[in-house]
């Protein structure tokens, strides 16, 4: 990915990142109809389309925050690919007859295809991290929550009644434990590009 040249449509990413209602509204006005049409034509309805669009926008929001997402293609193509793939995956899950996703037919825009894959991958990683965080022991969970909410390790140490040095060390080990759990998950191998 060339992260140096971002597309002019980066404004949509930034708008989502900043929770700008005007931008979100315009994303719906401009880009939702195509997705709704597609889902309706492929065994879905408006309610399903609403969910797919919302989930996709939350993923983009998360990726913008966690990974500083840079758009290298038109938002239209990128967003449509993401929604389409999400919908086809949902169909595949609910319908064992099997839906073949022919990605080549999805787009002839290589940048959009590549970036949308990256985002889909990010979404799966994000879900895996969420799942594994819940499996951490309560002391790690509490310490990590406090660490990333409060920011100052001194205060965190004080709040849970340990020394600063211990809190720092514990924080490293807890993140390490989360890392290890994610890596040893059966899903991990599918998540690496």
């Amino acid at each position: 990915m060339n992260h140096n040249k971002s597309h002019e449509d980066q404004k949509y990413i930034e708008g989502l990142k900043q929770n700008n209602s005007f931008v979100i509204q315009s994303i719906y006005e401009k880009f939702a109809p195509k997705v709704i049409n597609y889902i309706k034509q492929n065994s879905g309805d408006e309610d399903r389309a609403k969910d797919v669009i919302q989930e996709t926008l939350i993923t983009i929001y998360n990726q913008a925050h966690e990974k500083d997402l840079q758009l290298t293609c038109p938002f239209d193509a990128y967003f449509f690919l993401l929604c389409k793939r999400k919908w086809l995956n949902q169909l595949k899950k609910s319908d064992n007859k099997g839906v073949t996703i022919n990605e080549e037919l999805l787009s002839n825009d290589d940048d959009a295809l590549e970036l949308s894959f990256e985002t889909t991958l990010f979404e799966q990683q994000h879900e895996l991290f969420e799942e594994m965080f819940q499996k951490l022991g309560p002391s790690c969970k509490n310490l990590l929550k406090a660490t990333f909410k409060i920011k100052s390790m001194e205060e965190v140490a004080k709040s849970i009644g340990v020394t600063y040095a211990y809190a720092r060390k514990k924080k490293s080990l807890c993140i390490g434990q989360l890392t290890k759990m994610v890596q040893s998950s059966p899903n991990y191998q599918y998540l690496k590009p």
Partner: protein, 245 residues
Amino acid sequence: MQEQDYIQFDTYLSGNLDAESVQIFEDRLTSDAEFKRAFDDFKQAERFLEHQFNNEEKTQSFKGNLEQISSGYFKKEAAPEAKAIRIKPWYYSVAAAVILLFGVVIAQQFSNPTYDDFANYGTISLTVRGAENDLKAKAEKAFNQKDYRDAEKHLSQLLQNDQDNIELQLYKAVCLVELNKYEEADALYQKVIQSPSVYTSKAKWYLALSKLKQKEKVESIQVLKSVPEDAEDFDSAQELLRKLE
């Protein structure tokens, strides 16, 4: 990875490794693929936690906002006609004003009937197709456009050559009422009423309206009572009468 490795990741990321250790650390990143992978995943875990907890409130408000916009959008989708006629905020104040106006009008109708409620002179026709007299056409046009000043002028001119024309007199009287020249108007109406013509009943009704405009209630009632049953304006006259009495 060993516990020590994770502690080192964190120390490196917080910039607390000395120069020599940094060099060793970075060398290992390039030579040890597993170490590199663990470090990348550690970084990702940290960014995940950072976003998850530091932005917790922001994310909640984003999701709330998204749900609101999404629901609004899909409601609109379900009712496309609502999309076409989207009501702008200022329309509401206009609507409120209109409702208020209706209220006032209705209230007035129950209390005091006004001249404007009843004065409907319609359009007049003085010209015959194909044989158009300029002045007549002008008078007609002005009257029908409710330009009573010009209409009165033209009608007066026409009357100079045709002073007994009852129809013209009636229309001129209407103009005079509109121009608040009541004395002249009422005299003209009386003249029309006295002369035997098809305009007698009309003139009575119009005279009553003139009196109404002058707020001469008693006189108006008197004239209204004289409008005959077979008159075109009998019903209107009765209505006004009811409201005045």
